[in-house]
């Protein structure tokens, strides 16, 4: 259907509404639970499925080409830093996969640039970006230029 929501599991918390990139998870006014208002604008991206604290959201493959009787379930865990998938085929076969989602405690490896000392005038006038040139090659080497690489730009059909 893309995504659909189990009536008995959803508590209407709205996490899916908050995260959906397509703005299609809305709260039904009568039942006060979430549902997919526009299945043909659903990418099956699983953002809402991953965000649901109640595991109330699931996906039923697109009706115009996917037969019933399958499921692909997911559990994303920021504490453990992993994502676990279970694929269940129509014929009952199961496959399980586990992947890391980060190598560091969540968000800790990311700098706050307002706390860093700003660039020098020399750097402003150069072609360098933040952390360059060090981070280009992770050594003392400089930034590539036409000159350093022995190149020229020529108009027309020249290779």
């Amino acid at each position: 259907m893309p995504t659909f929501v189990y009536m008995t599991s959803c508590d209407g918390c709205g996490h899916c509404v908050d995260i959906c990139p397509s703005d299609i998870m809305h709260i039904d006014k009568t039942t006060r639970r979430a549902y997919n208002i526009e299945p043909n604008m659903c990418w099956e991206c699983y953002s809402c499925v991953k965000a649901c604290p109640q595991n109330a959201i699931d996906v039923r493959g697109y009706a115009d080409f996917a037969p019933l009787g399958h499921s692909v379930r997911v559990n994303r865990d920021e504490q453990k830093g992993t994502i676990a998938w279970r694929i269940k085929f129509r014929d009952g076969t199961e496959k399980n996969f586990l992947s890391p989602i980060t190598t560091k405690p969540w968000g800790e490896g990311i700098p706050k640039l307002s706390d860093e000392s700003g660039p020098s005038d020399e750097m402003r006038d150069s072609q360098l970006l933040y952390k360059e040139p060090d981070y280009v090659r992770m050594d003392e080497g400089g930034l590539h230029t036409l000159e350093s690489n022995g190149l020229t730009m020529k108009k027309g059909v020249y290779y």
Partner: protein, 643 residues
């Protein structure tokens, strides 16, 4: 619904659209503008927005200069070959020389990049691609952007750019509405980095119902990059260069890892290799310059993706479909099987859902491939977008007007899908472009170029009225009918989208006509688009969610019009397999080895088309490649299409 007006004033750098390009811009802007006011306006939620919302399993643009793998110019040559000679090589070189520093930072931030256990280097999928566990790629870069920005406005659909009234052709901010509250948002800013999305859903999709959501590029990539830029009067380039993707049927699951890492290959319905037999005839169309299978075999020069598409399309049209991806041998290896599945789970879960639903296990059967409907974008393997300035130390005069990645509108910068002529940037390259644009935007302000901007109340109020008109229109005419969706006074956004897709498909080279068009068809298409533009004045939105769809449609329509104008202008078939001009079936280097540039006059709606020169980097061939060991193998891998 009352639409409150909320004004955010005195912004220095406004980032419109926070996908990979926008997050890069917001992050980097803080370094160069420590005391500057940086604001993000994002249509969805920055944690899961843009094309990378669902994750990625590979970073497709990484040079590996630290290990002597490639130099920037090698990547320029690759992109040039893939796009049949026509790219902005200054912009590509510039992106490629910075992109590794972006990727190395991603690793610092916690993005899991796979390593080769023997060498400790990033695990290569292909010559340019590295493999990642990228489920949280978007939340990670979003975190970086949030740490840099003063404020992130989620759920704001930006509809227009504001223009300065004291100096012509200078940007002054943007306006839009909150898709949940219905409030009107005004962002007054000295500079704008337009990093909104490219265009899915402007051509009729192969799927007809729910499945039309399983677009290759995200359905929320609503051509806003182009709608905003074209309407502001920015010059656009290579808009005819749409892309058609050869992908797993219906789910559009990616094939890059399958070709490159799993060593799978394609065959026709009879189990035969089919590609090479189309090459002699194709060579007559494009010339030996662009297709030389023998030379490619010897030198490992890649065969352009569009030409491989052409072989696939031709084979199917000759009645020897379907095309299969031969997976059975590779999937006997449990490690490769795992990679095959995780590749989908990491970035196209829908393909895994489909195979589960249809009991397709690639270990036991070879899945079908097909070619998609066309898409228009500038960050994957094609280069539609704005005509932007390059960097001072690389660009020739025709490509340089003061500030890197600045469009032809002053103070208006681009990144990602918004920048034209820079294919093969992908996620890392788009982030890098955002960084480059942000540095240039800060410099533009520091140079005093943004002084004395004037935005009148008349401009702000006029846009407000325009934005909410579809809701007013609905209110007025809804009760003219009993119920339902058939109304002689208006169309709704879904009806409009279907009209756009049908006419683009039939007149501009969509999937039902095997990507074929000609001057007559394009001219009719333009007429129909004009009529549609009139009807877009009568579009109705029942609620604020439909208002979002209405404005997405307006952006898609504008992009589609520009695509049609460009396709009409270029009188040749430069990219067979992406589209065909039936009246000019050959590559014509004598007249068309140029970049096409358009400008739509915002006052009159008239397009001016011109040819811009194509400059090429000339220098020693493949210096790094020859020096690096074992490069022959990685180059051979490149013979397959980009992911």
């Amino acid at each position: 619904m009352a639409h409150k007006t909320i004004v955010e004033d005195n912004i220095d750098v406004l980032v419109v659209g926070a996908g990979l390009g926008g997050t890069g811009a917001a992050f980097e802007a803080r370094y160069w503008g420590q005391d500057k006011k940086i604001v993000i306006a994002e249509k969805a939620n920055i944690d899961r927005s843009g094309a990378v919302a669902q994750g990625l399993y590979a970073i497709n643009c990484y040079m590996g200069t630290r290990w002597g793998e490639n130099n920037p110019e090698d990547h320029v040559r690759y992109a040039r070959i893939d796009l049949m000679g026509l790219v902005r090589e200054d912009l590509l070189f510039d992106m490629a020389r910075h992109v590794d520093s972006t990727v190395h930072q991603f690793e610092d931030w916690g993005l899991p990049i796979m390593k080769d256990p023997d060498t400790g280097q990033y695990l290569r999928e292909g010559r340019w691609q590295i493999m990642i566990h990228g489920e949280s790629y978007k939340p990670i870069v979003a975190e970086a952007a949030k740490k840099s920005a003063d404020e992130v406005f989620n759920r704001i659909c930006v509809t227009h750019l504001l223009m300065d009234e004291s100096k012509e052709n200078r940007v002054a901010g943007a306006v839009g509405f909150n898709v949940r509250t219905g409030n009107y948002h005004v962002f007054k800013s000295k500079t704008v980095v337009c990093s909104a999305g490219g265009a899915s859903n402007i051509f009729k999709p192969r799927s007809v119902g729910e499945g039309s959501g399983r677009t290759w590029y995200a359905p929320w990539s609503s051509a806003s990059a182009y709608g905003l830029l074209i309407n502001a009067g920015a010059k656009m380039t290579q808009m005819e260069n749409r892309i058609v993707l050869a992908r797993f049927k219906d789910g559009y699951g990616p094939v890059g890892a399958y070709f490159l890492h799993l060593k799978t290959y394609t065959q026709n319905g009879m189990g035969e290799e089919y590609e090479s037999k189309w090459f002699p005839e194709l060579q007559k169309m494009v010339g030996k310059e662009y297709l030389d299978p023998e030379a490619s075999h010897v030198t490992h020069r890649p065969i352009p993706t569009c030409l491989r598409n052409h072989a696939l399309i031709s084979e199917v049209n000759a009645g020897r479909g379907p095309i299969h991806m031969v997976t059975m041998h590779s999937f006997q290896d449990p490690h490769l099987e795992e990679v095959g599945w995780e590749n989908f789970l990491g970035m196209t879960v829908g393909q895994a859902v489909l195979w589960a639903a249809t009991d397709v296990d690639p270990k036991n059967e070879n899945p079908e491939l097909t070619t998609s409907e066309p898409y228009v974008m500038g960050s994957h393997a094609t280069g539609s977008g704005a005509w932007c300035s390059g960097p001072e130390d690389v660009s020739p005069d025709e490509y340089f007007w003061g500030y890197n990645r600045m469009t032809t509108v002053e103070g208006l910068f681009g990144a990602g899908d918004a920048v034209g002529g820079t294919p093969h940037a992908f996620s890392s390259g788009s982030f890098t472009e955002g960084r480059l644009a942000a540095k240039a935007a800060c410099k533009y302000i520091d140079d005093g170029k943004a002084e004395g901007i004037v935005v009148s109340d008349a401009q702000v109020n006029g846009r407000k009225e325009e934005i909410f008109k579809p809701m007013e229109h609905y209110k007025i005419y809804r009760n003219a009918i009993v119920a339902g969706t058939v109304n002689p006074h208006y169309i709704n956004p879904q009806q409009g989208l279907e009209r756009l897709q049908k006419l683009m498909d039939e007149y501009c080279g969509g999937v039902t006509v095997s990507y074929m068009t000609n001057e007559k068809l394009l001219s009719i298409g333009l007429k129909k688009l004009k009529l549609m533009e009139e009807d877009l004045e009568s579009i109705a939105a029942a609620d604020v969610h439909e208002l979002l769809r209405a404005w997405e449609l307006k952006h898609r329509h504008r992009a589609a019009e520009c695509v049609t104008q460009h396709t009409l202008f270029r009188k040749e078939t430069r990219w067979p397999g992406y589209y065909y001009r039936g009246d000019y079936m050959k590559v014509d280097d004598e007249n068309w080895h140029v970049l096409t540039v358009s400008r739509r006059d915002p006052e009159t709606g008239q397009y001016t088309m011109e040819k811009a020169p194509c400059y090429h980097l000339v220098g020693e061939e493949e210096k790094a490649a020859e020096a690096a060991s074992g490069v022959g193998q990685t180059q051979a891998e490149e013979l397959v299409p980009a992911q």
